[in-house]
């Protein structure tokens, strides 16, 4: 995700806003405010690495708008994250919270890091360092982060603990997506995927679909992708295609999703398998690239990887009549 492309993300969002405004009864002042993120913070986080060396990581937090309540939005850890992307995502959080009527504004954050290259202790120090520098910006009544790409409950727990240390009181409400033992919400884990699942359910009811006739492709096999695939499969939908960052597989009859999840968790690899207990056997399936998956002739396409997979270039080739990205 180059900076040039990045620059486009927020501008693109504002262009969509302006287009939408033509159809909505929204006064000019509100529109003008939506065009300008209220507050954008960039910090440099020094982290002592396990080998004794010092590395400095760049962190971001954008509070796009808090007219409706404290900011709300995730923190992602990704080597390509940049201010433009964070700014755009914060804008969409403002919209999303407003659309579903939550008393929250929109915010987003990120750290430029490949978390897979860090040890657990390094990750803890980075996460605490991020919260340390952001601490005057965050709070139950100011701005409330959450997990996002490559961040998880444990990272939220470290951040909450650092925040509580600085503010000298238990403050679980300063962040969501914490471990359940520290005050996290049950079901939070698979909420993104479950949201997509509910959408498909609603649609199926409306169109009087029979699940066994509905052929579904899911791009991305992380937290969101696994959850939506598992839930749809349990309801009888046919999950015919799945992929992760390394590629995917296709099978007309559909996959036994729990088997693929089990195998992925054991081996970190997505493979077309069927498992009995802990014994997994490969099943017949076709390989396909992420690009091919998007263009499959399926009934429902669920892009559950990073955003911006469906672009002006490939949109014309997407054949699935229904496609929806689970939103965090």
């Amino acid at each position: 995700m180059s900076k040039a492309i990045g620059d486009g993300l927020f501008l693109d969002a504002i262009r969509r806003l302006d287009k939408a405004a033509q159809y909505a009864d929204i006064d000019n002042e509100s529109l003008e405010r939506l065009r300008h993120p209220e507050m954008m913070l960039q910090v440099s986080i020094p982290v002592r690495m396990d080998d004794g060396s010092l590395r400095i990581f760049r962190g971001y937090r954008v509070r796009h708008n808090d007219a409706r309540g404290p900011g709300k939005g995730g923190i992602r850890y990704h080597p390509d994250v940049n201010l433009d992307e964070v700014q755009a995502l914060a804008f969409w959080m403002t919209c999303k919270c407003a659309v579903v009527g939550l008393p929250f504004g929109g915010a987003k954050g990120g750290v430029v890091v490949n978390p897979k290259e860090l040890s657990a202790l390094e990750l803890e120090r980075l996460s605490r360092g991020f919260m340390d520098m952001m601490s005057d910006f965050i709070g139950p009544e100011i701005d409330i982060p959450a997990p996002d790409v490559y961040t998880n409950a444990m990272i939220m727990g470290w951040m909450m603990d650092e925040y509580s240390k600085i503010h000298r009181r238990h403050t679980p409400a300063c962040i969501t997506g914490k471990p359940i033992a520290l005050g996290g919400s049950a079901g939070r884990d698979e909420a993104t995927g479950r949201g997509a699942f509910y959408c498909v359910q609603e649609l199926a009811a409306k169109r009087a679909w029979h699940p066994e006739d509905v052929r579904v492709a899911v791009q991305g096999f992380g937290n969101a992708g696994q959850a939506v695939a598992r839930l749809l499969h349990a309801k009888g939908y046919r999950i015919v295609a799945l992929s992760d960052s390394k590629g995917g597989c296709f099978r007309e009859d559909g996959f036994d999703v729990p088997s693929l999840i089990h195998h992925k968790n054991e081996t970190r690899q997505l493979r077309a398998v069927y498992c009995e207990g802990s014994v997994c056997e490969t099943v017949e399936a076709d390989s396909l690239s992420n690009e091919e998956l998007l263009e499959l002739d399926v009934d429902v396409l669920i892009p559950a990887a990073l955003e911006n997979q469906i672009t002006a270039q490939n949109a014309g080739r997407v054949k699935a009549p229904v496609r929806r990205r689970p939103r965090r």
Copy 2:
């Protein structure tokens, strides 16, 4: 000052740092920290204009490094100010405070605005709005702003008052360059120019110059330029060239600086005059452009306008053996 050039300002500063580091005994970790500004904040400041409309202004504050103490650095109001420039100036503030041994770190701020287009009440609302959004970042022991290009004591006074209102106590120490009646420092006003004057004095002593033989050109006739020209003139130096943003004038015999200052204050115009009381007469002088002034064959050239006037392009043509920009 286009963004493209802007982008270069901070990178350019770091390049100079790296070059300097080759000659200094500075450990790598310190160097690495200096390469990354600690904290950069961008805000959108909504201001109600006198005509009832709403305008949103972009504001910046960068705290480059606070290892030696609270951040210190001015806030400039300028239509071309941008994050890169503010970042670079904050870096130089870190260096400047360290070089003279002050217990302060480096910071800088700015607002994208042409203050000449705003009424006094609009300017007040903008300045209070800026401080309101920056208020968690600023403080006597955190970061202490000051006036800079197109900001003045009155603006600092508004900001201090807003800060005091929010923090519920008189806090004159949160900002410097306030009106003297509100706790400002005597002499603050002309300190920038006086610093340049001291440098010339030191040099004159070292080189055994006679002031009346020293021909001085001053680019810029704002606060700094007027002060250094007036002080040098009072000591007998020959001020042979002066300019403001609209151009300059040259006179081999030197100007009567107080006359030009008086006339400028009365008419907003720089003209080659000599005044008796309030009666001013034009004196013979040549017109010259700002570019020509820089390349005059004088003994001392003082660039007292915006930074980056002497560039790779014109540096070779500067003939003055001594040139120094007064630093804020």
Copy 3:
């Protein structure tokens, strides 16, 4: 409301307290505490008017007693408001909260201003200025204001925003009666009138009244008066007399209250009308003064204007067997 009368309001309240104490089992220390308002604050609020001039308004806040919890009570904007009145109303708030068992103490506030003479921007500046000066006194766990005479949801919203700005966090709980979009409570708007309506309902049940036989007079046609009249009318009561500050009207058969409300909202005038859609026609009715209304021979008299309309002078002439003032 002259100061002389004003002075009497709090003393009068204490006299009633002392009389009541003879019948209640209340220890002397509690009584003594109730006789002395805990805290009374008077402030001068400088406001920049739209024409550039400066006006200074007097504001009050009295916290009468907070033994049972944070203070609670409205802020009124009225040219005649004074400390005595505010003190008395704060006392009654202590009693009212205690009587209905709310965990709140009693408080009240006011600003000496005729809000009708101010523009919306002036009103905003006044309201923010009031909260700015009161800010250390107010808070979800200290004292929680609300709207009162001539203050409304928008004013509460400005005050909440100013409080949140000063306290650096969203604090909707610092004030009640906010716009619903900012966290206000549904139904808050007509709560005062609805309370009076419930009282009449209770009474009707107890006395086995048929609404169509009950003749009601309502003095005051503001928020409270309109609501109680509308609700009673909807249940079939006969609203035979209505008035606003300029006088009233009487009609034996009762009025179509929604018509009168519609017309008042359109024209700011109370008139005896009947409307079909937006077309209103005058209906036959007698004019009467506010004094005459109070002395009408009706079944229920609801004084919904300012307090102290029924006095020692006219009390003997009030014929309605049931009279009750809706309480904020």
Copy 4:
């Protein structure tokens, strides 16, 4: 000091302000601000008496204006203190601080109590209770009280301790006039009297007086009166008349002031005595009332009791060409 007279004190002060404004170059907005005290606070302080009963005392604090810095002004304990008086004295504090160029605004406080009727423990509880209720209003950068009529260093010490307890840190700067061991200033004790003494000294220098020829009358023999009398006597001035609240004495040759101070401290009585060591003998002197003292034909008259002793009624009868009240 009846309330009726009291009401006049602040109005009278504003009338003087308006008269002075005719001669001064002061803009209307500043004048308007000076006419309105910024903040006036009245509190009820419940105190548990030594006999177990509860008494509630009324306390005041007025911050008249803090444009020049935190409020400054004493707290008096007096049965007749009232809001009007405190308001007027706060106004004069604004003027006095401004006149001598101190970076402070004007404030004043008081408690309605006859401190002579309270035990030391009751006085401590009252003083702590006062500070408890005032605590959000007071502070080194907000408003800094001091002793005044019938309050002393010990009372300031209690208040400072209570303030420090509430604010969780040693805060000696929240109040002046503390015991020296707790951070009080040396010389504070007799500063009021010494100020008057300096005035007489300056005048004597200007008029080339010989102290032994100057006949001085001092009304009031409390802290201020004793100090000025002692200091003038030590320089050789003739102190011919002295009085306390019960009356005074006159002696053409002047009194040995240290003897009278010693005797007063031993016996609480002002008597015309001369002491050798601890043995005091009465000296010949005439009795006189406080009124007579004011009208004595002396060179210098020093009113060192409560304010407003010289009135429209008796001003014409005052014969002393120089009269000055020591100001706190």
Copy 5:
């Protein structure tokens, strides 16, 4: 409770922890943290006694562990309380909160005092003094005390009021067990005894007991003992033995518990009585010591006095098959 025994209480608790750890799946780090109380605070509380003298009391607060949430645990007033005991009880609070799944950690406090020797006003001053010194340690999100041995709702109320005074806002959540009028919970009073009652009920259900056949002995007739005895008696259990600190009584047929409670409340004495209205008559019963009570041959033994009544020495002699100490 000598210090020597005291020293054993915490060590004894840790020994039990280590024993339990052998059977539980608990990682070493968690175990190590449980072995070390996070924070232990000892303070000296100066109290002015009614006779004017000064006494200094020792107070304790231990926060054993707050990984699961704010600390929670009572404050006891007892002449023998010491740091070891408080430390041990805080440890057990950690365990108890965790076992029942409450989001609280464990804490405990105490003051070395015999509260029976203090007047109500002295007790108030002591309780406020304790909270004053502990105030930075306590809070709704930090550590929340409660009543314990010889402390009650009134003491909690004083402490809450002192905390609210210092923190400048109503903070009922800083302590539990307050008077209901100040925000206490209904039923809190007898919760300890009711807990024990529920245990017996559960057991009775499991073992299909008939209450009238179950013979119960209750050691201790304070808050907990009275409540459990009363509740069991009301369900038909036979309360055959009761005791207070001065000894007990036994009656094979069981006692009419309400009569004994009534009599105890009237006379401060535990006696075997039966009351009709306010008239009580002695019933036949055997006297017995507290030691004898513990060793009675009953079905259920409820030790409701201080902890550590059943020791290595007498445990072998306890005959009751079911014994349980109500836990605070």
Copy 6:
């Protein structure tokens, strides 16, 4: 230093206080307050070791008395430190600050650790952890730590940084003995030794000693010992005996102290040497134990190691007529 001995340290201090009180005019209440340390805090500090394991360290802070101002006293890192010792040292700090008239109270702290066994990063984590847990207790106006046995400027710097992070502002005043670059005081380093040096100088002046005749023994060759030895040597005193924890050396002619310091810094060993530049040669000297050093027949004995070296046992054998321990 066993606990048994430790227990005696505070009691011993109080015994000395009581003895001193017989000769001083000190009221009983003050005495009683001095007998009870105001506040004692014990914490458990979890530290992640470099090998990934977790260790928990015990830390202490005692504020003995703060009547005269914020607490003041060092933090020592020592495996034998315990609450009794810290309590006693805090008591002596109260006395020492009062004796020299500083506006500070007495405090002391400690951590049970052998710092030589920790890596620099472990030491940093421990020091930050200590400050984290103590942070509500420490502050420029509350209690201000300093270095002590085995703690140094770097440790103070870490603590200051942690404190500043938690309190969100540069707070160098929260601790003394910081690195000079972070706001430490010049000369702080050798202040302890210089104090002892001044004492000897004063004595020498009084007794008209010639330095070259004065034979000095210094026990302890750490910061204090080296400084006093170096300063005395520079003035011409004969330093005849020196020791560190491993033993000492004696030389009748005295040592060239700078040589021994140089050698110790290079080799961590105390040896009797004479150095020219970096070349050191052994000089003739006798070995002696620390016990023997104390009993040497010298003119001045300076115990500059840990306290309590001169005991009831060996006091009789100390022959030096002058002995004084440098006090921190």
